[in-house]
């Protein structure tokens, strides 16, 4: 019974939140890794792109809620996501037109593009705060739990409860669908294949008649969709606060780099790795261990390896370790 309780406690506080958070990071890291693979720079504006997309979703959600449109028990935001994606696509294509294309034509070094993307980051950040304000916004509605802790306890008779939030369920299902679609697209369709070809060997792709501007355009479209979905899922799960999305940049980059920049598969693996590490290390494991260890050995403290205030340090440390031992990341992104 204690083992079961430990397992349930672990699932409740580490496994389920880890899977949900990992899915959000994975979707974010996919966007970063695609930009890196195709446009060949680290896009610092990605966190704020997520914030921008989510902001549009929040605004449309509010409008729907005001008009009494809902898809109860699911959150209305799901209905608003397509709108968020469309506006974000317009935003990114516009940015590319006005900013990145100029630098691309000059064939500038990637480091210049990184700095340019920081400029874009500040501008997007400003736009988002100007429109929706810097504060915390709640926009989730519908049924809160797929299964609440109490229902679980009643069902199983265990001391420990396992709660699964609707947003966690939605996050995982959406992430699976999005990832399957993306891999099908990259692996099976001609457009996807030309993106891979372009990422693999730009010179050859150009001389094979692949139009680079098309590839870039499709990339931004996919990135806009990924960013909006990732941001919305994160916002539904926690809440929407622009600055938090800027902070998410670190674990997202860590995920993409740990997995191997340019590798979609790596981005996903990296996302879950970082998420689980963060959740496990910052969660007080006292409860779980309390069930497993004999009473005499039961821990006195909380067994929280690191305060949640330092959770971003986890990304750093993992990044450091992986880069020390396998500088290309877990999966080699660029096949050279």
């Amino acid at each position: 019974m204690d083992v079961l309780n430990a397992l349930v406690a672990f699932s409740n506080f580490v496994l389920v939140p880890g899977i949900a958070y990992g899915s959000q990071l994975a979707l974010g890291a996919l966007g970063v890794t695609l930009v890196y693979g195709i446009l060949r720079f680290s896009n610092f504006a990605h966190g704020d792109t997520m914030a921008f997309g989510t902001m549009v979703v929040v605004l449309v959600t509010w409008a729907f809620q005001g008009a009494g449109i809902s898809i109860d028990p699911l959150p209305t935001a799901l209905l608003a996501i397509p709108f968020g994606i469309l506006v974000t696509i317009a935003m990114l294509l516009g940015t590319d037109r006005v900013v990145y294309r100029f630098y691309r034509a000059q064939k500038v070094k990637p480091v210049i593009l990184v700095i340019v993307s920081m400029g874009v980051m500040f501008i997007m950040n400003g736009i988002v705060r100007l429109i929706i304000g810097p504060g915390d916004q709640r926009f989730s509605d519908g049924e809160r739990f797929i299964m609440s802790a109490r229902t679980f306890k009643e069902m199983t008779g265990l001391d420990e409860g396992l709660a699964i939030k609707t947003t966690q369920g939605i996050t995982v299902i959406t992430a699976i669908i999005v990832v399957l679609l993306l891999f099908w697209f990259l692996g099976r369709t001609r457009t996807g294949k030309s993106m891979r070809a372009y990422s693999d060997n730009e010179d050859l792709a150009l001389l094979s008649g692949i139009n680079p501007e098309r590839v870039v355009m499709v990339t931004w479209i996919i990135v806009a969709a990924l960013a909006t979905i990732a941001g919305t899922l994160y916002g539904l799960d926690k809440s929407f606060k622009p600055f938090v999305y800027f902070q998410l940049l670190l674990p997202i980059f860590a995920s993409a780099i740990v997995g191997g920049l340019g590798s979609p598969l790596g981005a996903i693996a990296g996302g879950y790795l970082i998420a689980f590490a963060e959740v496990t290390i910052t969660y007080p494991l006292k409860k779980v261990l309390g069930y497993l260890l004999p009473e005499t050995l039961a821990p006195d403290g909380l067994v929280q390896l690191l305060s949640t205030d330092y959770k971003f340090a986890v990304s750093f440390v993992i990044l450091l370790i992986v880069l020390l031992f396998k500088p290309t990341g877990l999966f080699d992104g660029r096949a050279h």
């Binding site: 697209f185 369709t189 001609r190 457009t191 996807g192 294949k193 030309s194 891979r196 070809a197 693999d200 060997n201 010179d203 050859l204 792709a205 150009l206 001389l207 094979s208 008649g209 692949i210 139009n211 680079p212 098309r214 499709v218 479209i221 096949a335 050279h336």
Partner: protein
């Protein structure tokens, strides 16, 4: 130079400067339709750079390139590709993570599958195209005698086989003119003969015009007429290989000036 009906490519006074260094320094030449033209010259003569300018990889500092009477100076590679102008690289390029067949199937850009709309709503047509592409890729592999490599990763085949694969890329579409940069570099004699045979057949059967950079004079002698010799970014001489071989300037260029050029580059 006035372009005539039989001129495929006219390069007129092209300069390409890298900083103060003149890699191509006033090159002018014409490539006759249906010819296999050889381009020789010591290392650093500017042959590859001239290819890059013609193929739209580099914009020229000055000068013009004309194809079939149309000014193509500075057009991007994919536009030139659409016009039937293709090139291969001195160091073979490949999509290393794809198979040889997939590499070939990547080539004909700009078909139905390339639009997002068709990706989702034109599945049937794309499937038909895929089938046709696949058949063509297999034909090409057969033609090049590398059918057995169809499913091998392109990153894992030998350098010479990569050169063949590069030639294969040009066969996936109906090219008009193909620029081959050092097709024979690092390729063994047998494979080189295979490549030579393929070039001759493509020239005869499909009417491809070729411009071939190569250091192997036997290869050049067997395939090319005329032969153009470049040195120090300029065209020194043009004629049959036998004429070129006894040209005083050419001999001098091969003896010494290559080194001077290198010093200027450094």
């Amino acid at each position: 130079m006035t372009p005539t009906q039989t001129d495929m490519i006219v390069v007129d006074d092209v300069h390409k400067h890298f900083g103060g260094f003149h890699a191509v320094d006033g090159a002018s030449l014409t490539i006759a339709k249906g010819s296999i033209t050889g381009l020789i010259g010591p290392n650093g003569a500017g042959k590859t750079t001239l290819f890059n300018v013609i193929a739209g990889v580099l914009g020229p500092t000055s000068g013009t390139v004309t194809m079939d009477g149309e000014d193509i100076t500075g057009l991007p590679p994919h536009d030139l590709f659409a016009k039937g102008l293709l090139r291969t690289f001195q160091i073979a390029h490949e999509f290393s993570s794809m198979t040889c067949r997939e590499n070939l199937m990547m080539v004909p850009g700009g078909q139905s599958g390339e639009t997002l709309w068709n990706t989702w709503f034109g599945r049937r047509r794309i499937a038909d195209e895929e089938r046709a592409l696949r058949a063509r890729a297999d034909e090409v592999l057969e033609f090049l005698t590398i059918s057995h490599l169809a499913d091998n990763k392109a990153g894992e085949i030998s350098g010479g086989q990569k050169k063949l694969l590069e030639l294969g890329r040009t066969m996936m579409v109906d090219a008009k003119i193909v620029f081959l940069d050092e097709v024979g570099a690092g390729v063994n004699r047998t494979l080189l003969n295979t490549i030579g045979d393929a070039i001759i057949r493509l020239n005869k059967e499909r009417g491809y015009t070729f411009v071939v950079i190569e250091h192997d004079m036997d290869f050049i002698g067997r395939l090319c007429d005329p032969v153009i010799c470049m040195a120090e970014g300029r065209v020194l001489a043009e004629g049959t290989l036998d004429e070129i071989k006894v040209n005083e300037q050419v001999i001098e260029a091969y003896l010494g000036t290559g080194l001077k050029n290198k010093a200027a580059a450094g």
